[in-house]
Symmetry: C2
Subunit: 345 residues, 2 copies
Amino acid sequence: MPGRRKPTINEVAHLAKVGIGTVSRVLNNHPAVRPETRARVQAAMESLGYRPNPHARRVAGGRSYTVSVILPFVATEFYTRLIEGIEQVLQQERYDLALFPLLSRSRLERYLESSTFAYQTDGLIIASYDLTELFGGNLLPTDRPVTLVDAYNEHYDSSYMDNPLGGALAAEYLAQFPGEIFAIKLEEDIDRAFAKTTFGGRLAGFQHKLAELGRSLPQTHLYTTRFSAEGGQLALRQFIAQSPPPYNIFAGADLIALGVLEEAERQGLKIGHEVRVLGYDGQPWTEARGLSTLAQPVEAMGAEAARMLLKRIGGYRGAPRAVRFTPTLLERASTAPRAPIPAHP
Amino acid sequence: MPGRRKPTINEVAHLAKVGIGTVSRVLNNHPAVRPETRARVQAAMESLGYRPNPHARRVAGGRSYTVSVILPFVATEFYTRLIEGIEQVLQQERYDLALFPLLSRSRLERYLESSTFAYQTDGLIIASYDLTELFGGNLLPTDRPVTLVDAYNEHYDSSYMDNPLGGALAAEYLAQFPGEIFAIKLEEDIDRAFAKTTFGGRLAGFQHKLAELGRSLPQTHLYTTRFSAEGGQLALRQFIAQSPPPYNIFAGADLIALGVLEEAERQGLKIGHEVRVLGYDGQPWTEARGLSTLAQPVEAMGAEAARMLLKRIGGYRGAPRAVRFTPTLLERASTAPRAPIPAHP
DNA sequence: CTGAAAGCGCTTACAG
DNA sequence: CTGAAAGCGCTTACAG
């Protein structure tokens, strides 16, 4: 059974007693098909287990019906959700998605020049990086439309998250608690061309808002680490060594915050009182773990990027647009000793 | 200039004054072409900047000329090199590579059933995971040939690294130094279906060889952490708190070893005397950092996997083969106070 | 709304 | 060794 010759559009047409043109129209949601005919064709496709051959479609249609997504090569919930959002929109338009993980710079350059790319991409979504840096601040060396997601550049359509705002929300929130304020700073990629501004943006917004509130963040209250839970552990140890509790900590990422939580437990500090931690990302496990965090509409951001790109592929020529998405603070036990205080006493 | 209609095989044929069949033969390295003709055709392709349309080729040829590589979604040198090795072999055979990062289990299942997959894959290379677990210990639900790389399963061709041997080499090496032996254990993925055996294999080989040598590795000398440099830092702190120097440490991975090095420096311990660390992976930066490590022929392993798969795609039906690759110990300053002692006094 | 036909850019027997 | 032709499975005007 498996490996059997795949049914073609001819067989579907034959079974449905229509021409192949009509089958094609059904496939492409062309409006000019009688509902009755459409149903007959769909039944035929169903009963044959028909799957259109994408290569034939690409040859006949003269385009790739494929969008490439270039993204950092990191296993995070964030990218899973982002892709999810992008894919959903693409699917509706019968577009495929080709993932291009940024393994190395040379691979990217080879890719952009390869015939794979030339024949496989009607447009490009670039996630999290401003790759123009890679090309000396110039536009990317491609004639295909480009959309940025989780990043911003004035020359391209951009769908991005307001990280400084998230930082500001964090500052405003933590400032209301008794005790001093601490933050954990994440080392970003050293390679300028691949620099991300995510964490930097969050921290900048955080510090800016603190200043506005007349609060300070001395050097001793800022711990720098790479991206890991263990970094959070080390940070809390450092804070403990230098200042008395309570500690109100903006961790900048859920994973780091997790390390803080673990270390706090190990040290016997009361979470929500002596140690308050705020993560970032709103990962699924934060709820069960009782971690307060800033949640982001990642799927929506991805979907918007896909929509903007598809519009360009369709021939739209307007000025670049930027769509901004904002995070939401979720309050949990890591900053509130119990559930959020009810509205009336 | 950009976006101009791409030249086709017809134009090449016309310019070279041959039929399109001959152009196709040149493209596919068919031996039955006179060198002179071949040169003429190649010149024509060159001057037109001709790139064959892969979709047309796939429609006409009735296959995808594409191999899918399913791999963990982690940014490491290891995977860059692995892909490099695979890609090189595929390129020679005019095969494309489609990367499928394992963002989530549901995405994988959808992928295997998608028409993208059906029409885009003549064969499958799976890196680092034994995905049969995902399907209840059964074979993968696909009729395409499958090859495992950096993993082993008796039912499929496998190209793998001997991690236990690496651990044994590490044990043998570290046992020659004065002082006690320590190791850092890496938490592996908790999801059984996505379990990797890499680190476990290294440690098992390490412990086995130690036992053979009559040495022991007490619980206190084994620190468990997630995969991060900070984990190495924490590990060394723990060892210091419990035992006197010197420390002979098998870190299990270069990144962890880096954390150990950093912490040793911070603590003012003499590297190569009071602290000896051995990494694993042979990353490029280890040389400059003076980190001893176990280097692996990753590209060769990838290339072998690609060759085995291509053979299956070509119709080969023999019993599954397993090709084993072995690591090599590179001695640097982190274990040797100076360069390796010369052979004669 | 629908069918027949041309065309997309290749590969592959088939003859010579 | 080489050319002409058929065929791969679609899309897309073009007529009706």
